[in-house]
Amino acid sequence: MRKIVLIPVLFLLSLLVTSGFAQEMTVTGKVSEDGGSEIAGVNVVLKGSNRGTTTNDKGEFSIQAEKGNVLTFSYIGYNSKDVTVNASVLNVSLVVEATALNEVVVTALGIKKEKKALGYSVSEIKGEELQQARSTNIANSLVGKVAGLNITSTATGPGGSTRITLRGNGSIDGNNQPLIIIDGIPIDNSNLGAAGMWGGGDRGDGISSLNPSEIETMSVLKGATAAALYGSRASNGAILVTTKGGKIGKGLGVEINSNITMDNLLITKWKDFQYEYGLGRNGVKPTTQTEAMLSSSFGAKLDGTNVIQYDGVSRPYSAVKDNLTQFYNTGSTFNNSVALTGASEKMTYRLSLANMNNKGLIPDNTLDRQNYALNVNANLSKNFTILANVKYIKEKSHNRPKVSDSPGNANYTLINMPTSLSVKTMKQSMLDANGYEQVWGDNIYVDNAYFAATQFQQDDNKDRFMASFEPRYNLTDWLYVKARVGFDKYFYNYTAITPTGTPYTPLGGYDKNIQTFSEVNSELMLGLNKKLSSDFNLNALVAGNLMKQLKRQDYISGSSFNIPFFYDIGNINPSSRNASYQPYDMRIHSVYGSAELSYKNYAYLTITGRNDWFSTLSPKNNSLFYPSVAGSFVLSEAVKMPSFINFAKLRGSWAKAGGGADPYKLSLYYSLTGAHLGSPLAQISASTVPNALLKPLTSKTYEFGLETRILNNRIGVDFTYYNRHTYDDIVSASISGTSGFTGATLNLGQISNKGVELALNYDLIKGSKFTWDVSFNMGYNKSLVVYLADNLSNITVDNPRSQTAYVFQEVGQPFSLLKANSFVRDANGNVVFNDQGLPETGILKSYGTGISPYTMGITNSFRYKGVGLSVLIDGRFGGHIYSGTNALATRYGLTKETLVGREGGVVGKGVNSKGEPNTVSVPATQYYENLYNFGEPFVYSSNFIKLRQVIIDYSVPARVFGKSPFKGISVSLVGRNLAILMKKTPNIDPESTYGNGNAQGYEFAGVPTTRSIGVNLNLKF
């Protein structure tokens, strides 16, 4: 193994050595389209070298070459052409490509393949768009662009994580997100800290740290077949990120990209809030300071008179309507990156540096990131090449927003504040004479919004290194051996301070979490690509991989600072300091192989196989073999088709995939929890019952599809049907806490996902000056929980803080089933009220899935000369959401619904226990406060249509630059999340979930959604 590491090092050093040139001359010429108009930007490369150039806007080029050398001319949309140098002037004409047949995409293991050869669906996204329409988390930029790709952003502020799923969720309880692979190296995309039922903040994931400017392409391998070569870890598909390298023939180039984005609240006012009644309960406004310490808006009618507030000051008893805009700032993000690209005879390279500074919506929240990347590709000799990628990412955030439950969560306070209290007052009267939080309400766990935002402190730092070295040696012209060593390593440090004077813990508290992570993959591969006969070609490889993942988490915490306001662990009362560490050690060893046989460039058959051995599973069941087979048949090449069909391809595939488990799940462990009165303490550490017989889950997928282009290639259709069935799913089932444990690791689950994906492209207008393309994609996924375990019909996955709504996995139901505490209803559907006039508590009722089965996006792109406009509208349909925000707002008398019965009480509409109409009146305060115990009134359809993205871009034509150093200037104006065109949820954005886990279908006091508007400037020298 050590030798493999040494090889790249040695050869990196030898890069400095370059060989001399033979006799050369300057070859010049002109490239035109079929002898007509000149073509600018054509790549001209000296075959077998890295030397190259591009044609200028007159189609002219100039390059050093020897007689007898071959020059390759290539340009998108034209057939490439090889021309042998026989004179110093060469005029070349290129033929427009007949079909889009030769589109090349990046597939598993980074192997570029012609798209027509693929028996499965792969979608590719170009880096350019990601660069223009930036989001602080790049995953958010993928929304609405790929059929079958479901991106759920979290309402956790900038730097928060996203949930990415492809073709539904294949595991009931396990990981459902695809493997993220950057330049061939799998990276850790786990969430470094998420909010749960009891609150917290989202500390981001792996993909969120990427610099969009570095990305050349993102390849989405949707199905198990596409990702079969990656084995267990890609059972949910994979996203391959290829970063930019140096370009052959471009010489030294400099690219500067600057981007400024401003974020504003998308929903600036609670439209469905009441502004008629003020602070108080039972229809009474406060008369004393103590009485004013209240978060209810069940007071008297607002009358503008001076009424005492929590800080003892009297202010007008009037509606405050601008609390949201007063509190939430305009967020801003500055992105600057510079990239240096170059190429010499023997190598190409790209060095890029990027800096991002983000100021969040919530006061005091910042996120800063620097990305450094170096990509080198060297041809050391005719047969030996080496590719090296090194990345360093530094990320730092201050006061990531807290969401969900109330402690330290400013968002919670905002949906809790009485109508007559201004957040400006909170700013003025934040601290008391001791510097402690001045208590403003009746629940000490709900902090002053500014105290929560500015006095609570959360800081995190992440240093991440990613590197890969890939030497390749061509043994013959058809046989090569390749090694790849890659690692992903990060150091992460998180400190959270609960300040002195926090009402619920006056002496404060300290939490520190240090994580180190490393994953090393060592791969060795032998590949061949041989023409077997004039009709048959074989492309095959065998490889092995060792994966070693080590994680270590250290926790240090304590409560009670001895010296107030001095926040260091050394200042914590020694008896209340705690330290613990969690190790995590996992190995997967694998061997795999693939063979692709093609016949006459229209029939392709690919067979792959991979065997994984897991360290985390029972030694009896720790090996799993994943085979796959895929076929592609290009009808339009094989048989004569009607002339309007330019291209038609059928494809189909079948694959088996699987997944492992986390370490240490096989046996019961104890944790040592400290000591009391000199006696050590211990308890069972797990809340999940271990399973000594754990075996890998398996899933079987088949898919077939049709790709066609018709009417002079103007209309393109790509359709896929897939069917994925998971067996032996490792399920951490929720079990009754009365069993002592809240979960059990079972190995029996089955889940099915079936769906279709459709992508349509229509070049509506294709003029020489004006073009209009429409592209539409949609995905539909039908999930079904088939089986859980013997005598187990459902499990609960999670629930929001109110504990009135639950996400279930239930046999016979779709994934992520939302259930909520319902009203009792009689046979006619009337709500049944008890003798006190309050609704009777019913069962947990199902409301459907929390994950929208339908996703779609439509992009209209217009281009007039150098100006482009692209508009993306996307939508999701068929899902449901429980809104904790609306539940809280109702409980505190803030929603319009609570106006009913303010005077004279609420007589709930329904019947009493005898079936007669309910006539018992309940005071509004108690009626609506009690309503919080029900989930039913706060469950909504999560359907939406959004104006997701608008990009206006302008590229200065190349001819303008003349002899200036500029090679390209482009400016774009970008808007993201510009408007919600349709939604069913009052007050909130239906995309407001705070967690990226498997429990989807509820929101609770998250960071409000923002609208972003930005300008992007790109300069190339």
């Binding site: 103590t290 061997v591 985390t616 030694p619 211990a682 279930f808 009626y927 115990n933």
Partner: protein
């Protein structure tokens, strides 16, 4: 060439094949898979007390927010204190249940299953069995039918959805357990000492505690099954109940980590700051009663916000009021809206290192007095009662060395046992004592349970608008909603037996 390929292939396959060390890699290096039973026993005690895990979690919710308020030992004008106004907060109502099973019940089930395997551990086993009864009886008294025989056995027996046992059966088994485990305690075998946070390894005291708890349970079930109650009460007294304040059952706490601190104190003091935050006060019912009875404990347990402990200055907060100036507002009812003018626990009572008192010698004397009066056990009622009174007023020194009552006899004189009174008079006197006793030791669960059985002292219910019960004092707590989700069938069966999961469902021993 062929040879080269063969070498590479061989190398490739050998990479995947070496998995010998996998089993070792998958052993967690930081967590033992076996620990001394005493470590577990120690943790289990802190879990019962309520300090381990989320400190004070179940205690705040069940002891203060609900029990203390419902039984009018405490009161609050914060609407969060749902027991004060008989309103429902799902999370708080279900908390004691939810927290206990995953902590104390889980640990105890593990200890009992392990200790049973080795006769040398008979004392650890017996203590664990007794502690389990101490824990389970609080849960069943709060909720009624609960998982009992199958509880805590997910790992031991793979029971994931325990059935709910009938309270009658639970009581029968708890009494049997106390009898067997108390008898099985054997001073000649190994006895845990430092890990015993109650009696420090004093086997005799454990036996007395087992019998005293037996007496409490026996007296509790008398309306539902008088014959068994009599049998068990007699057995308890015959076997030997507590004989002095030294025998009182209390978890010893210290001011170390949060897990070490008294969970009541954690809530009242440093952890949640409920006293200084004016979140709760002593109830008017309690303070008035103590004043009338010239109770010397008043000056120890109650003070105004300004530190005034003069008994005459004490003012209890009426239950069922809010902070508003409306019809249910404090100012409307009393004319004094300043919450700082109402009595709350004194600083003496909630140090982190104070013991968590759960069964006192005094209580055993009061219960024995009742048993004597009912003719179930022999003895002199008056003397037993007076011993209880003296013990009750002098025991507060465990909270603070200065909490001394110098003349307990004066209290006895002021509140004489109605020797010649009716049984009802005697019952009133006995259970008024238990009411003050449980209040002054923050044992509000027991205060509420004893009140439900006896109806003493007679309490005036509040009728705050929109309450869940129509102005009737709650008889039980509502189970956690979560059980509907994770244990649906068993939950539904259990609540159907009491006509629905409401505050007014009558549990087995709580016969009308």
């Amino acid at each position: 060439m062929i040879r080269k390929i063969a070498v590479i292939l061989a190398l490739t396959f050998s990479m995947g094949a070496c998995t010998k060390d996998f089993e070792e890699i998958n052993i967690n290096p930081t967590a033992p898979s076996k620990v001394p039973l005493e470590y577990l026993l120690g943790q289990a005690q802190l879990q019962i007390s309520g300090s381990a895990g989320d400190p004070g979690y179940k205690v705040w919710r069940a002891n203060f927010i609900y029990s203390a308020m419902i039984v009018q030992q405490m009161a609050s004008t914060d609407d969060y204190y749902a027991g004060d106004k008989y309103t429902y907060n799902a999370d708080n109502s279900g908390a004691y249940f939810a927290d206990s099973y995953v902590n104390s019940v889980k640990s105890l089930a593990d200890i009992i299953s392990q200790a049973a395997a080795d006769p040398a551990n008979v004392n650890i086993l017996s203590i664990a069995r007794i502690l389990k009864v101490e824990q389970m009886h609080i849960i069943t008294d709060l909720y009624g039918d609960i998982p009992y025989t199958e509880a805590g056995k997910a790992f031991i027996e793979n029971i994931y959805k325990p059935k709910y046992d009938m309270q009658q059966a639970i009581y029968a088994d708890m009494l049997k357990e106390l009898d067997e485990a108390g008898s099985a305690l054997d001073a000649s075998k190994y006895v845990p000492t430092t890990a015993d946070f109650v009696y420090k390894g004093d086997v005799t005291k454990w036996k007395k505690f087992a019998n005293s708890l037996m007496l409490r349970l026996a007296m509790r079930m008398q309306k539902a099954d008088a014959a068994s109650a009599q049998t068990w009460a007699k057995k308890a007294v015959d076997k030997g109940i507590m004989t002095s304040n030294d025998d009182t059952f209390a978890f010893i706490h210290s001011d170390g980590s949060t897990a070490s601190r008294n969970p009541n104190s954690y809530n009242l003091g440093i952890g949640r700051g409920l006293v200084k935050g004016d979140n709760l006060q002593w109830s008017k019912t309690l303070i008035d009663m103590m004043k009338t009875r010239k109770d010397p404990r008043l000056g120890i347990i109650a003070q105004l916000a300004n530190g005034d402990r003069v008994p005459a200055d004490q003012k209890g907060l009426p239950n069922g009021l809010d902070k508003s100036s409306g019809p249910n507002g404090l100012v409307t009812a009393t004319g004094d809206a300043n919450i700082k003018n109402y009595s709350r626990p004194t600083d003496l009572m909630y140090d982190d290192a104070d013991p968590n008192v759960l069964l006192t010698f005094a209580e055993t004397q009061f219960l024995k007095t009742e048993a004597i009066e009912r003719g179930w056990v022999t003895g002199t009622a008056q003397a037993t009662f007076e011993a209880g009174q003296k013990a009750a007023v002098t025991q507060l020194v465990v909270y603070d060395a200065t909490a001394v009552v110098s003349d307990p006899a004066a209290y006895v004189t002021a509140n004489p046992y109605p020797v010649s009174g009716s049984l009802a008079d005697k019952m009133t006197q006995i259970h008024n004592e238990i009411f003050i006793l449980t209040a002054s030791t923050f044992n509000h669960y027991e205060g509420w349970a004893n009140w439900r059985r006896t109806g003493m002292p007679s309490l005036t219910p509040t009728n705050y608008p929109g309450n869940q019960t129509g102005g009737v004092i709650p008889r039980r707590l509502i189970l956690p909603i979560n059980e509907k989700a994770v244990n649906e069938t068993n939950y539904n069966e259990a609540v159907s037996r009491i006509g629905g999961d409401t505050f007014l469902g009558r549990i087995w021993w709580d016969k009308q």
